[in-house]
């Protein structure tokens, strides 16, 4: 598997990143080097192996459905880059022209 420039652009979009040309070059060669290392996994026959997803052993740990440690509106907005005191503010989402 070789990653090319087109795939890098697609990944950038999926990851919501916008790399500079220089960063793109470095990441392209880094990822290919890393994938070369990862290819080693293909040596192992894993056809009959179940993927390991969780390493913890407890299943379904329940607690009562009661509100705990609630965050106030003021606290929730305290780290916001932009807010009007009641809501988080973001740039306009709907473009009426298109």
């Amino acid at each position: 598997m070789k990653i090319d420039k087109a795939l890098i652009s697609r990944l950038e979009h999926l990851a919501r990143l916008e790399l500079s040309d220089e960063e793109r070059e470095t990441i392209l060669s880094d990822l290919n080097e890393i994938l070369e290392m990862v290819e080693k996994l293909q040596e192992l026959d894993t056809d009959d192996v179940t993927p390991l997803v969780y390493v913890n052993e407890d299943v379904n740990v329940w607690r009562e459905d009661v509100v705990k440690d609630q965050v106030s509106q003021e606290a929730a907005l305290s780290n916001a880059p932009a807010s009007d005191g009641a809501f988080f503010q973001v740039p306009k989402v709907i473009d009426l022209k298109s």
């Binding site: 990851a15 990143l17 790399l19 890393i34 290392m37 080693k40 969780y54 780290n79 880059p81």
Partner: protein, 476 residues
């Protein structure tokens, strides 16, 4: 003032009237000031720590029984653990100025027992790195040789303890981030079983790997902190429901154990000859003391790192999607619409290593590649787990170097991600399997740097691991 290496020493001195918490904190603050050039602390809570110390001294004077079990414990915390009303940045630009709305359960439980938090310490950005060079706030340096790295990602924690700027430090360990820096700095680093300590309030990196750990000078302190932080938590359903044993009362080791070492690890091409020699010396010492120490086959050693980087970057790309510049964190001023706000905020806020891992993680999770990479790595994780568990059926502990070499000079591997990743080869296994592991200092390399070795044990065998590690340190 004497350099304390355990909480009992401090509590004895306070009881004898030769020490107060205030004097202790002042002493640590002086030590912090004297080691500024190592870039350990991102923030020092001087006034707050002193106020708490005075309050504790007063309470203790009124009634010595009115103080908690961590009375006299001065802690630093890694910059990925939330501490209410204090900044936490994950060593990243993207969280500059972010203040925690709540405390991590691990932090909360230590302060509830009267630990004094003296400051937050540097780490690799979002705990991604092996040298603490990936911090937006500059690298931390090893106190044994400031031209060398302290290891990572809990490098600030390791040097904070090494340089006696606090008694112990809370770190986190996703692939060795507590044990490797502990080994590089000549201190103890303990990572408990996955799920033993709640991850609530820990900035997530690889959620199926992340675990809070302790860096300290003494096994007693590691045991006590672990005992206090462990246990079920309403805010983390992956925290184990198992009762927490009184680790501090189970530190007396006796009897004979069975210890395995991995032939493939001891003969690994990346292993420094002097580190190998230290390992072989310890094997000899243990055998002479009557323990069974045997080499075992472990054919998966060279598959650990590839599988680990597929899985953790996948989890990271998902976990770090929350940093979007909307509700908190850096927001770009150059964006004109919502998509650009996400893109530019993240691009400006994240450093090179974090971007690299997000891109790799996005790739292995993307349509068309998911099965070939992500599912494959999960299957390999199963093979590694089964084989490790099988070894631990026949043996009490697995002995390994903590790292292939000692701390290297700053800048040496920073442009070679693969070389950097491969240096985690001996620590990652414990996280892949979810078992506890401890790194202890065992000697010095001819280059002057500390050498650390680690022991791993089966899940929830923290008591046995701590007691044995204590015994090994005492005979060494």
């Amino acid at each position: 003032m004497a350099k304390f290496t355990s909480l009992p020493q401090i509590q004895t001195a306070i009881a004898a009237g030769t020490l107060t918490c205030e004097a202790l904190v002042n002493n640590y603050l002086k030590q912090i000031e004297a080691s500024r050039q190592l870039n350990i602390y991102l923030e020092v809570y001087a006034e707050e720590a002193l106020a708490k110390a005075r309050e504790l001294d007063q309470r203790y004077q009124t009634d010595p029984d009115k103080v908690g079990r961590l009375f006299g414990m001065v802690l630093s915390i890694k910059d990925v653990l939330c501490y209410k009303d204090h900044e936490v940045t994950g060593g990243s630009k993207i969280l500059t100025g972010f203040k925690s709305l709540f405390s991590a359960t691990a932090v909360e439980r230590t302060t509830a027992e009267d630990a004094i938090i003296i400051g937050r310490v540097n780490c690799d950005e979002f705990a991604m790195g092996s040298t603490t060079e990936n911090s937006f706030y500059g690298p931390t340096r090893n106190a044994a040789d400031p031209s060398r790295v302290p290891g990572g990602s809990s490098g600030g924690s390791a040097v904070a303890v090494q340089a006696h700027t606090c008694l112990a430090s809370l770190g986190t360990d996703t692939g060795g981030s507590v044990r490797q820096p502990a080994a590089f700095c000549g201190v103890i680093g303990m990572k408990p079983t996955y799920g033993r300590i709640s991850r609530y309030g820990l900035l997530a990196y690889g959620s199926s790997f992340d675990q809070v750990g302790v860096l300290s000078h003494s096994i007693e302190d590691a045991a006590l902190l672990l005992e206090i932080m462990s246990g079920p938590d309403d805010y983390d359903s992956t925290a184990s429901q198992k009762a927490v044993p009184p680790y501090t009362q189970q530190l007396n080791f006796s009897g004979k154990t069975r210890i395995a070492y991995l032939d493939t690890a001891l003969n690994h091409k990346s292993l420094d000859p002097e580190v190998r020699e230290q390992c072989q010396n310890l094997i000899g010492t243990l055998q002479q003391a009557g323990h069974t120490v045997e080499g075992v086959d472990f054919e998966y050693l060279d598959y650990i790192i590839p599988a680990y980087y597929v899985l953790t970057t996948a989890e990271a790309s998902s976990n770090l999607s929350r940093y979007d510049g909307i509700r908190y964190g850096h927001r770009s001023t150059h964006a004109t619409d919502l998509l650009e706000t996400y893109q530019k905020s993240r691009t400006e806020g994240f450093g090179a290593e974090v971007k690299r891992r997000i891109m790799l993680g996005t790739f292995v999770l993307s349509a068309g590649y998911y099965d070939a990479y992500y599912t494959k790595a999960q299957k390999v994780r199963r093979l590694i787990q089964e084989k490790t568990v099988e070894i631990l059926k026949n043996y009490d502990f697995i002995l390994m170097p903590a790292a292939p070499s000692t701390a290297w000079p700053l800048g040496e591997n920073i442009n070679d991600p693969v070389a950097m990743y491969l240096a985690d080869i001996f620590t990652v296994q414990a996280n892949m399997v979810g078992i506890p592991a401890i790194a202890i200092p065992v000697g010095q390399h001819s280059n002057g740097m500390p050498i650390g070795l680690q022991f791993m044990a089966n899940k929830f065998k923290e008591s046995e691991l701590l007691a044995f590690a204590k015994w090994v340190m005492e005979i060494g």
